[in-house]
């Protein structure tokens, strides 16, 4: 394998990792506030179809990306009303959000299957982007790739260093204490869930506008669920989520290349199982390993909270 083709592989890995990173970082914030939202897949699909439809109809990818984030947020708001305001079971509501998102996005996207779209423009930096190998690898992406990495850094700083970040963690670790010292637990969780939805929406938009610029029903193919798994893998730490997303991007791309190279006699479908099997394997290792006790799941994760009057 030449250096140039290695560069090309790395480039596609970044593409496969970015949607996972967006969704995982968003889910990480929601979970840190104590909310387990299993509707990531549905929110990603909402973002993918709305981002695609708005870009096609208005011709503006900026508008498309913004409305994708909005669509993800709207789905998340629905989840918030049910689980936060009405104290419904988070697991069941998350499943409902995914089922609803699959159906609604298919319905909304009926007229957009097979329609071409202009992919997100690559941000080229004159001079730097033309460097061999490193140029396209570091300086030749569209804005969403950089945004996903910037979001990781911002979330890491927010959780560790900022005051609102500490409040968010307090709400996720001990909702009753946070409530009794005067923080509005429900409001904090709404913000966190909405952020999670917007990020999932962006991840979906990256799929339908950059990674594979098209709309197809259920095009996320389980990425929303893999993102939920990544948060566990990352032990709720943003930079580890980035590492995880790139590892999974790597698995996805390598099996694609192996398929392309003839697959060593292994059927293509068996190769396609790899990312899913890898998720199961990684979850097992992370749950069983010697670091088991230090997984750091937020103490109130998944528990409904209703302030008593």
């Amino acid at each position: 394998m030449t250096i140039a083709s290695l560069g090309l592989v790395l480039l596609t890995i970044i593409g496969a990792a970015t949607p996972l990173l967006f969704a995982a970082i968003g889910e990480l914030i929601a979970e840190k506030s104590g909310v387990l939202n299993l509707g990531v897949e549905g929110m990603m699909l909402a973002g993918a179809v709305v981002g695609f439809a708005v870009t096609v109809t208005t011709g503006s990818s900026l508008l498309g990306v913004l409305s994708a984030a909005f669509a993800g947020g709207a789905m998340a708001f629905l989840f918030g009303v049910l689980t936060l305001t009405l104290a419904a079971n988070q697991v069941a509501t998350g499943l409902a959000l995914t089922i609803f998102g699959i159906g609604l996005s298919a319905l909304f996207g009926t007229g957009f299957v097979g329609v071409p779209v202009t992919p997100l423009p690559k941000l080229a930096i004159p001079g730097l982007s033309d460097l061999p190998v490193i140029g396209p690898l570091l300086f030749g992406h569209d804005a969403l790739v950089y945004l996903s990495i910037a979001a990781t850094a911002a979330v890491a700083w927010f959780l560790k260093r900022s005051r609102p970040g500490m409040i968010l963690r307090a709400v996720g670790e001990s909702d009753l204490s946070a409530h009794s010292i005067g923080y509005n637990v429900i409001a904090v969780r709404y913000y966190a869930v909405l952020f999670g939805g917007a990020m999932a929406g962006l991840g979906g938009a990256f799929l339908s506008l950059s990674y594979t610029p098209m709309w197809a029903e259920e095009m996320t193919a389980g990425r929303g669920w893999i993102a939920v798994a990544l948060v566990v893998f990352a032990s709720w730490r943003p930079w580890r989520a980035l590492l995880g997303a790139y590892l999974f991007g790597g698995v996805t791309i390598l099996q694609l290349y192996a398929q392309g190279a003839g697959g060593f006699g292994i059927p293509a479908q068996v190769m396609s199982m790899l990312p899913y099997l890898a998720t199961v394997l990684v979850l097992t290792i992370i749950s069983a390993g010697p670091w088991k006790g230090r997984l750091d799941a937020p103490a109130c994760l998944g528990k409904p909270f209703r302030p008593s009057n």
């Binding site: 299993l38 549905g42 629905l78 009303v81 049910l82 009405l86 104290a87 419904a88 079971n89 697991v91 069941a92 509501t93 499943l95 409902a96 959000l97 089922i99 609803f100 998102g101 699959i102 159906g103 609604l104 298919a106 319905l107 009926t110 029903e217 193919a221 389980g222 669920w225 893999i226 939920v228 798994a229 566990v232 059927p267 479908q269 068996v270 396609s272 199982m273 899913y276 099997l277 998720t279 199961v280 979850l283 097992t284 749950s287 069983a288 088991k292 209703r306 009057n309």
Partner: protein
């Protein structure tokens, strides 16, 4: 200065959940879904009257339509009962779709291996293989959960994608019909591997009756047996269950094997019933939709018979409305999601009471 409302709404938890509301709210959720559907149809530019009629009414007016309702409800009921047992004990198997697929692969393997043979024992053997296939596939998340404490939601779901790919590997590869013009499907099963039809001119097969029996058996299990009692206690009062020394791992195994086995049997009935061979997609998402069925039936096996029929209507109504008024098939999925939303939202009034209270002075 803030204006105070003249009346305060006070929300308080009910001491006991309201039995009446518990069973009235699913009906309300169905009605709200239909009303939302009405609005949705108008927004999409369809005349609401005919769209509603062809979705919810006309499928029920013919014998064939009614028989199809049962054919579609059967897998939903079987899987829904299995899932409900698990959900009651807080075991979240959401990979029933994968277990259905694996059951179908196992049963289909038997049918293909015995292709051309005749004998009354072929169908029972396929049923046993289907149950075993689904249960074994559910044993993976059960093992990982009990041994390593791996979240069963994520593992069972990931394995669903793997099962679908496995089925596709087989029907595109070794199990492809040698005389099938290279289509990705197995041979048509011979008569000995096809479920008997109950009513001529319909697809109503014996499996639909088995599904009803399974629901009754599930009700007996939950209501009258020690195991059923343990399942209910674990779900409602986990601390009490620990105190009483109920084995959590044993219940996890039980719930996953039961729900997996039932999903596998449902997959068997699909390929030995309406489909008659192995194809890349054997279920329009029954395994996922059964989650909605389980909740809509209030995790009660007899309630699940009713909810299975209601949700089955969303499938045949969707198909019918597509033919009659050109409604996109995807409406079905959106309806099913909406239904679960309304149901979960309505739970609020089951558990909480909203009271009008006079404003606090000051």
């Amino acid at each position: 200065m803030r204006l105070r409302p003249a009346i305060n709404l006070r929300i308080e938890a009910r001491r006991e959940t309201s039995r009446v509301l518990l069973y009235v709210t699913p009906v309300a959720a169905v009605i709200l879904t239909v009303l939302t559907g009405l609005v949705l149809f108008v927004f999409m530019g369809y005349a609401p009257g005919p769209a509603l009629y062809h979705f919810f009414v006309s499928p029920l007016l013919t014998l064939y339509g009614l028989s199809e309702l049962l054919v579609k409800a059967a897998p939903l009921i079987m899987i829904g009962v299995g899932l409900a047992i698990g959900f009651r004990a807080n075991v979240w198997n959401i990979g029933a779709e994968g277990q259905l697929t694996c059951g179908a692969i196992a049963a289909g393997g038997v049918a293909l291996a015995l292709w051309g043979d005749a004998g009354f024992w072929i169908l029972p053997l396929m049923g046993a293989a289907g149950i075993a296939g689904g249960a074994l596939y559910a044993a993976i998340p059960a093992f990982l959960k009990t041994r390593f404490d791996v979240n069963e939601i994520l593992t069972s779901l990931m394995l669903t994608y793997v099962a679908t790919l496995l089925l596709s590997t087989l029907v595109y590869g070794p199990w492809k019909d040698p005389t099938g013009f290279n289509f990705p499907q197995s041979r048509m099963f011979t008569d000995a591997a096809i479920l008997p039809i109950l009513v001529d001119g319909t697809r109503l097969h014996v499996g639909t009756m088995v599904a009803l029996l399974i629901a009754v058996a599930g009700w007996v299990l939950l209501t009258f047996t020690i195991i059923g009692f343990q399942i209910r206690v674990v779900g409602q009062a986990p601390a009490a269950a620990r105190f009483a020394g109920f084995s959590r791992p044993r219940l996890i195994w039980l719930c996953l094997l039961t729900s997996g086995g039932l999903a596998g049997l449902a997959g068997t009935f699909e390929i030995a019933g309406p489909i008659g061979q192995l194809v890349p997609a054997i279920s329009p998402g029954y395994g996922f939709t059964a989650i909605i069925v389980a909740f809509l039936g209030r995790l009660h096996p007899l309630g699940i018979i009713l909810s299975g029929l209601v949700v089955a209507l969303s499938y045949i109504g969707g198909e019918n409305a597509q033919v009659e008024v050109g409604l996109p098939q995807a409406v079905t999925g959106a309806f099913q999601g909406l239904l679960l939303f309304f149901l979960l939202a309505s739970d609020f009034v089951v558990r909480y009471r909203v009271r009008l209270a006079p404003a606090v002075a000051g």
